[in-house]
């Protein structure tokens, strides 16, 4: 007898769930032979197994920003090595215990090199790396290493400096705005570089900063951008991963930049340029080294010189003088003669942080914990 009450629904619902779970598991086994239930890859292979590489992303591939750029790099690896490499990725992995499970899973599935693309995956990478000595782990923007764990990064601050040069030339109110995520050295470097770049063409420039405590929260980024525009800023930069700031700038008739990827189509009137990062070269190198055995623990920080960072799609309406200066600075970066953080650099209280003529070394840059003169406000404490 078919009755529509809670008990019968629960019964049929339970059957349906069990049936579909069984079907999914069965289908899963057929369609994804790359996911063996057992631990190691099969020992006796008839021909060369493709080298397996995996990527762990903190955001969605469709964010058209940070994660998207990494995925473009992954696809470049696929294109370069063809059949010899098999890549997989897991997106939207939260930074925390879930990440550990995902990384361990990927290692257990036979991936021989795993890239984790966010600072917050650091502890999990360290832990899993100690359990899988045969697998190579690469952590982006981190600082902990191990015999089978190494770190890589990009010189985002070079992009931020170039953007600053453009911003300083374009601003009419001499007030810039920066939508920032978390007060870690990387972000503070970007804020400082942006300000220094702007001050190099326009010494009167000031930078406002608003912290949104997230890498990716479009409504909040919009609100933060709007509040800085209300406060007089007319050129904005962000180190958060969405195009919300650009769109807010366009809505208000102000200017902004793309970050992490080319956002020129999102807001044609407001887009001055995009600070892009191109991971293709590094990923190809890393996979090649892992395959031919020359992989070793080191720290690789590439920038404009190696083609990893660039200021792309500079808008036509940017003044010629600004474009020329950008080219000059770029040439200096490529030649290795120009360093963004060259003294004299002073903090907001006037204290000298870098002596005149001194080029900051990696150690100094890693420990940036201050605002340069011209940035308004106080750095929030903690992460």
């Amino acid at each position: 007898m078919l009755t529509f009450n809670k008990r019968s629904l629960l019964r049929w619902g339970g059957f349906a769930c069990l049936a579909s779970a069984a079907a999914l598991v069965g289908c899963g086994k057929k369609e994804e032979p790359a996911k063996p239930a057992a631990q190691a890859a099969p020992a006796a292979a008839p021909k060369a197994e493709p080298f397996k590489a995996a990527w762990v992303y903190v955001g969605p591939v469709g964010d058209a920003g940070w994660t998207y750029a990494h995925d473009v790099g992954r696809k470049a690896v696929e294109a370069e090595f063809g059949d010899k490499v098999k890549t997989t990725f897991v997106e939207k992995v939260p930074e925390g215990a879930d990440a550990e499970r995902v990384i361990r899973d990927l290692a257990a599935q036979g991936n021989k090199i795993i890239f984790a693309t966010s600072f917050g995956f650091m502890e999990q990478m360290v832990k899993v790396a100690s359990e899988f000595p045969d697998v190579r782990f690469e952590h982006a923007t981190g600082y902990k290493t191990a015999p089978n764990l190494r770190i890589y990064d990009a010189k985002f601050y070079e992009d931020a400096y170039l953007a600053g040069v453009v911003a300083g030339s374009v601003t009419k109110t001499n007030t810039l705005g920066f939508v920032a995520s978390f007060p870690i050295p990387e972000v503070l470097r970007n804020i400082n570089a942006f300000t220094l770049g702007a001050q190099s063409v326009n010494p009167k420039v000031k930078t406002k900063v608003v912290w949104v405590s997230s890498w990716f929260d479009p409504p909040k980024e919009s609100e933060a951008a709007q509040s800085m525009i209300n406060g007089g800023a007319d050129v904005l930069l962000q180190n958060t991963d969405s195009s919300a700031v650009l769109q807010t700038a366009e809505k208000n008739g102000k200017f902004a930049f793309g970050w992490d990827s080319d956002m020129s189509t999102v807001a044609p009137k407001a887009h001055l340029a995009s600070c892009v990062v191109i991971w293709d070269g590094y990923y190809k190198k890393a996979v090649k080294e892992a395959m031919d055995g020359s992989w070793k623990t080191e720290r690789t920080v590439w920038g404009v010189k190696e083609g990893q960072n660039a200021l792309a799609k500079i808008a036509d309406f940017v003044p010629e003088a600004a474009k020329k200066k950008v080219d000059e600075v770029k040439a200096g970066m490529k030649a290795g003669t120009f360093e963004v953080f060259t003294g004299p650099i002073h903090g907001t209280d006037g204290k000298e942080m870098l002596a005149k003529g001194v080029m900051a070394d990696q150690g100094w840059k890693d420990k940036v914990d201050f605002y340069v003169k011209g940035v308004e406000g106080k750095i929030p404490s903690g992460k």
Binding site: L9, S213, P218, P219, K220
Partner: protein, 306 residues
């Protein structure tokens, strides 16, 4: 002074989705159904509205699509809690989680897409008034609709027979049932209407406020609207004011950060929640007042047979 006008303008825009969702939830709760699925309904409506706006270019269709999506999910929620008498809290939570995942799944192709540009809105003559103009009269029509909605809700709940019946059902469904009213159908109607309003709020977020779609766009505003309704002791005016208070303090804390004020940004980020809770709790601290205003059967399931 201009900054204050801009802050007021930003407050109105920021508080509107909370106000609309809050009033939808008010409708639900006056009928006695606690709808914890608000976040899920706002999310599915946000993607439905964005998809509609992206494919057709029409804002009106987008809001209708959002209302329909919110209403559909609410209908499913209503069927579960009203006819099958599932626990309202658990079902609401499940609906929220479902809404989050479903909207993310459906919205995958829409991430990173851009809507057609729309012209700035302003009320023809009033927008030119020196300070009040930019503060109050350069808003999207939905902002004014939210205020109108509040008045409509007050009239409906307290001045119309239908509203009286609804409130009666919320206070004592057994008595209403004894009087011959179809308690379950009326409750379902309230749930769907409330869900549709949450849907309109969700569509507003994705189509007007931050015109793009990403997973989790609503970022907890559904939960805030729920809290608002409770802290405002189920009075429409207070829901609206609470929403504006929350939105206003949010924009204020960003403005303070931008102005370089020497307070930690984490403390400033807490301000909207603190301010809203403190203010609403203060104005509603009379326990008798709370007893009078809280629908007596809120959260309890109703069996017509008993």
């Amino acid at each position: 002074m201009n900054e204050i006008a801009l802050l007021i303008a930003a407050t109105l825009a920021s508080g509107t989705p909370l106000a609309i969702a809050g009033m939808g939830l008010l409708l639900n709760e006056k009928a006695g159904v606690l709808n914890l699925g608000a976040e899920g309904m706002m999310l599915v409506a946000a993607i439905a509205g964005f998809a509609a706006a992206f494919t057709t270019g029409s804002d009106t269709l987008a809001f209708l699509a959002g209302a329909a999506a919110g209403g559909l999910l609410a209908a499913a929620f209503g069927a579960l809690v009203i006819w099958l008498n599932t626990n309202q809290y658990a079902t609401g939570l499940a609906v929220s989680l479902f809404g989050y995942g479903f909207s993310a799944f459906v919205g995958v192709e829409f991430v990173g897409k851009k809507l057609a540009e729309r012209s700035a809105f302003e009320v023809p003559l009033l927008a030119d008034i020196p300070l009040l103009g930019p503060a109050l009269f350069k808003q999207h029509p939905m902002v004014y609709l939210a205020i109108g909605l509040m008045f409509a809700l007050i009239w409906f709940l307290y001045r119309s027979r239908a509203g009286l019946v609804l409130r009666a059902i919320g206070e004592s469904p057994e008595s209403a049932h004894a009087l011959g009213y179809k308690v379950r159908w009326i409750r379902l109607g309230a749930v769907i209407a409330g869900g549709a309003l949450c849907g309109v709020a969700g569509a507003f977020l994705s189509v007007v406020y931050a015109p793009l779609w990403v997973e989790g766009l609503v970022a907890g505003r559904g939960w805030i609207a729920l809290a608002l309704t409770t802290f405002a002791t189920w009075r429409p005016v207070r829901v609206l004011l609470g929403a504006y208070l929350f939105g206003g303090v949010t924009m204020l804390q960003f403005a303070l950060q931008g102005a370089g004020v020497d307070v930690s940004s984490q403390l400033l980020a807490m301000l909207p929640y603190l301010a809203t809770i403190v203010v609403l709790a203060l104005i509603s601290r009379n326990p008798a007042w709370i007893r009078i205003n809280m629908p007596a059967s809120l959260g309890k399931s109703f069996h017509p047979g008993t």
